[in-house]
């Protein structure tokens, strides 16, 4: 057994086990229906496939538009070394959201109906369109990586020519649907527990997604540096952590102001399950990482960065799960715990994401700045810095 494990590798064995369980669950889902596969009921129609696969999948992919804006709109070219893996993460995230939806929708083969059957009053309609369009935008943003591999220079030029409008479109679409995932829940003012329900949910969803997207950039960089035995872009990542901590700060202030505006601050000390879950979410996802990331020393240490990023991601997931599940249970008068089938399918989708990222990064030029190995990293980062600073000081000179 030990020999078997070392030959195949611990993680590979786990991945294979998850995939097999997932395939069996897929069979149950599509051949025996949602009733047999899930613990969903008429009282509780949305479970982890919406709460995790969709809400978290989209939110955690927010690094894509954030970094695209930083590199191409704000022209901070020193972040270029991490743009490709980030866009890839985002693209895979969206593809997997659509896969998750195919499991959750009762009539998945009808999914295309949203293209021709319009209902502009529906938030879900808007989200559907944004996700469709943004997935296309991400595919185009990532396409140069694939085209490079096959030396299709002409097509690359074509894509590069439309790259700025494409990036702007991507940022706009992301802004719309990241916030709209919060708007989805505006329609349930009575059903959702008031610690979470707020007219400002769209804004909260948007800001928390940017923070979580930044954390995902850091998280993904760490995993890639281990998997591909490459260096870490430590300087860049610690700057990303600064963006993250800023967003967390803005988010925290808005949450407190909102709670006090709605006169709900007293709910924070009511001894109730919802209160505990709320505090857990806020402590893990906001307070602790805010304290960690606001210290330069921690932002510049690999382990500090990694710990902070993991906390933000976990806290973000807890927030979305609380909104989708914890916050909705009380009113519906039922409890929901995902079934083994729901759980294994979610695990399978996540595992597919890891495998897809690994395979694409292995066979396509995703990590192009290979010279950024440990020993060279500081020098290169310093050079990039110098370039940026010089350009700014030249600007100042020119003005004088």
């Amino acid at each position: 057994m030990k020999k078997f494990l070392t030959t195949f590798g611990f993680w590979k064995v786990i991945a294979v086990a998850i995939m097999l369980a997932g395939i069996y669950s897929t069979y149950i889902r599509f051949f025996h229906g949602l009733g047999a596969a899930t613990n969903l009921t008429d009282q509780f129609p949305w479970g982890i496939w919406i709460g995790f696969d969709v809400l978290c999948g989209v939110g955690l992919a927010a690094g894509g538009f954030t970094l695209a804006a930083i590199v191409y709109i704000f022209n901070l070219k020193r972040f270029e070394p991490i743009i490709r893996p980030t866009i890839l993460t985002a693209f895979l995230g969206y593809v997997l959201v659509i896969v998750g939806l195919m499991f959750d929708l009762g009539r998945p083969l009808q999914i295309w109906h949203a293209i021709i059957m319009w209902n502009p009053r529906s938030v879900m309609f808007e989200v559907a369109w944004c996700v469709m369009l943004y997935t296309t935008v991400l595919a185009l943003e990532f396409s140069p990586v694939i085209l490079e591999k096959f030396h299709l220079t002409k097509t690359i030029k074509l894509v590069k020519r439309i790259s700025i409008p494409l990036i702007i479109l991507g940022v706009l679409l992301s802004t719309l649907h990241q916030s709209s995932l919060g708007s989805l829940y505006l329609i349930v003012p009575d059903k959702m527990y008031p610690l979470w329900y707020s007219a400002y949910m769209p804004v909260f969803f948007y800001t928390s997604a940017i923070a979580a997207g930044c954390a995902m950039i850091i998280f993904e960089s760490f995993l890639s540096s281990r998997a591909f035995k490459r260096g870490l872009e430590l300087n860049l990542l610690s700057e990303i952590a600064r963006v993250c901590v800023m967003m967390l700060g803005v988010y925290a202030v808005m949450k407190v102001v909102d709670l006090s505006d709605r006169k709900m601050l007293s709910l924070l000390i009511v001894p109730k399950f919802e209160t505990y879950m709320y505090w857990l979410e806020v402590a893990i996802g906001v307070i602790v990482p805010f304290v960690l990331f606001s210290q330069r020393k921690i932002r510049q240490s690999p382990s500090g960065l990694f710990a902070g990023a993991v906390l933000v991601v976990v806290g973000f997931i807890m927030n979305r799960m609380n909104i989708a599940i914890t916050g909705m249970e009380g009113w519906s008068g039922s409890t929901y715990v995902p079934s083994l089938t729901e759980f294994t399918i979610t695990m399978m989708i996540v595992t597919t994401g890891f495998i897809a990222f690994y395979s694409i990064a292995k066979y396509f030029p995703v990590f192009t700045h290979e010279e950024l190995r440990d020993e060279n990293a500081p020098a290169h980062a310093a050079a990039a810095w110098k370039h940026d600073i010089e350009s700014v000081s030249r600007m100042a000179e020119a003005r004088n």
Binding site: F30, G33, G35, N75, M117, E126, L184, I187, D190, M395
Partner: protein, 258 residues
């Protein structure tokens, strides 16, 4: 002008005979029931719930501005001018947002099917088209469920409340809830004790999401212009830098020649 129809359900008159459910199943071609269904299900568009001897008839409320119709991404729900909120299974993608959003928790799902439908009362819209009352109101032996024009039924309900103020709770449930519904209730027991949601707002819920959705054009135009502006500035900065760099280089090389 088409006339808005409605049902007036007087809970004081209901004896719990379940004739409404039976007639409903027949009218909607549901399988012959083995026994009475005590709550709404994918095979029961209406059901009687008992609270201490008071029977409460549950069914779709047929809101004036239906939440289900507003949230459905493919527009599978329609509010007909006569009142019924109807469902088009051919459009439905099965996202179940209607179930999540319905303030009365009415829509039911065919969970055991591999090609499921949403199931809920359709206010016998086919019978209404033939100038017939709903099957349930026709079957009701005590007049607890009465079919008629909405404004007339509202007037009648108010008359009953004033005629016997000691008997009735002074409220017509459904007159104002979420902007009004096509199913109206009057009762001698406070509604909150009968499983009714009494904290619902009086304005239609779709307004809540519309507040957010209506901001989209603004976000797109202002955001688009802003992003383009920022890009233009940062890009221009880079271009100027390059030109200056080139000029410097040429100057240097010229100086070198001299």
């Amino acid at each position: 002008m088409s006339i808005k129809k409605a049902l007036l359900i007087d809970l004081t008159l209901c004896v719990g005979c379940n004739a409404c459910q039976l007639a409903c199943k027949e009218a909607n071609h549901m399988p012959e029931p083995e026994k009475e269904e005590k709550s709404l299900s994918s095979t029961a568009y209406t059901a009687l719930e008992e609270y201490d001897g008071v029977f409460v008839r549950r069914m779709c409320q047929h809101c004036e501005d239906p939440t289900c119709a507003s949230v459905c991404p493919v527009g599978a729900f329609t509010k007909m001018p006569e009142g019924p909120v109807v469902y088009d299974v051919e459009k439905c993608i099965g996202c179940r947002y209607c179930m999540q959003a319905c303030p009365f928790q009415v829509p039911r799902y065919e969970w055991s099917s591999t090609y499921p439908r949403i199931q809920k009362c359709v206010l016998c819209h086919e019978r209404l088209a033939q100038d017939l009352p709903t099957a349930c109101s026709e079957a009701c032996p005590t007049g607890a469920t009465k079919f008629g024009n909405r404004d007339e039924l509202l007037k009648e309900a108010a008359e009953r409340l004033t005629a016997e103020p000691d008997k009735y709770v002074q409220k017509i449930y459904g007159q104002k809830e979420v902007g009004g519904t096509s199913v109206l209730y009057i009762s001698s027991v406070p509604f909150e004790n009968l499983g009714f949601r009494t904290t619902l707002q009086n304005t239609p819920l779709p307004q809540l999401t519309w507040n957010a959705l209506s901001k989209i054009p603004g976000i797109v135009t202002v955001g688009g212009a802003m992003l383009f502006g920022i890009w233009w500035i940062t890009n221009r900065r880079e271009e100027v830098r390059e030109v200056e760099q080139n000029m410097k280089d040429t100057n240097h090389s010229n100086n070198g020649k001299n």
